[in-house]
Subunit: 140 residues, 2 copies
DNA sequence: CTCTAATTGAAAATTATCTTCAATACAGTC
DNA sequence: GACTGTATTGAAGATAATTTTCAATTAGAG
């Protein structure tokens, strides 16, 4: 995953953002994680790397990364707003209830379902959000 | 939809909850709405019916209703945590970005997708959440 | 009608997130 | 390697959302 951190860094730089130490710390944490983490968790872990880091910077960095599409928000019932590294362009998440591990997948066959719905309801479907909760192989 | 309100009330009573005036006001608002509403919006509308209502009670009532399964949470990127009346047992939502109208549907063909994923990832899928965003016929 | 436990609302507490602003550090230029 | 303009940072305070506490009220069983 060290590799992944470099990809994230490169992507940031390419877009004209400066690669600062605080950002590097946040990226390092995100690149590691299979799990979804909320801002506070990310903050805590990233401070192990760069202790002067401020929570505000975590929020700001996450905002940038979501906008660029490098990470994705995960919505959970309790304590909304966690984040995970998004691997493929558009993908969905399989979250383990037990350990929080996140598996991503993208090859879904939802398109057909959407077409039918468009016909039936008259809605123009513009985006979708699918999230699955379960238990990962290890936790079963 | 007045009918629906009575269904909600009946369900609450059956479960041993008292049918108070504040709760009735909240139920009335929820029974009406095609739209998803956040606690503050529900509060405001319900106060037209029962002015003494407190916001806290709205939160508490929503909590009970979600637990019973009479309403569902809708997750949106900005301002998480809206609620809609849930019609069928398990269903999904088609939310209009423009006017907030919510269309529910339940006959989805996701089961097949899930089976494949279980096989591929080893996860035991226990629950899922699907949300579609788009534009309703009127707003198009 | 009475009584008790559930429920309520006001206020205060907590938590999450955002804004402001002076100080700092990156990255390109010399 | 030092210089410089601009983006970025962190602390502190502001705002917003949600929860807790607690004394007063009320639904509904008897």
């Amino acid at each position: 995953m060290a590799l992944d951190k470099q990809i994230l860094e490169q992507e940031l730089r390419t877009r004209g953002y400066k690669l600062t130490r605080p950002r590097q710390a946040v990226l390092a944490v995100l690149a590691l994680g299979e799990e979804h983490m909320n801002p506070a968790e990310i903050y805590e872990r990233a401070r192990a790397i760069y202790p002067k880091l401020g929570l505000v910077t975590v929020y700001r960095t996450l905002e940038v990364l979501v906008e660029i599409g490098l990470i994705q928000r995960v919505h959970l019932d309790e304590g909304c707003h966690s984040y995970v590294r998004s691997r493929q362009g558009h993908s969905h998440q399989l979250v383990c209830k037990e350990c929080g591990r996140v598996e991503e997948f993208s090859d879904c066959e939802l398109e057909e379902v959407f077409k039918q719905l468009t016909k039936k309801t008259g809605y123009a479907i513009e985006s979708h959000w699918l999230e699955l909760l379960g238990r990962c192989p290890t936790c079963r």
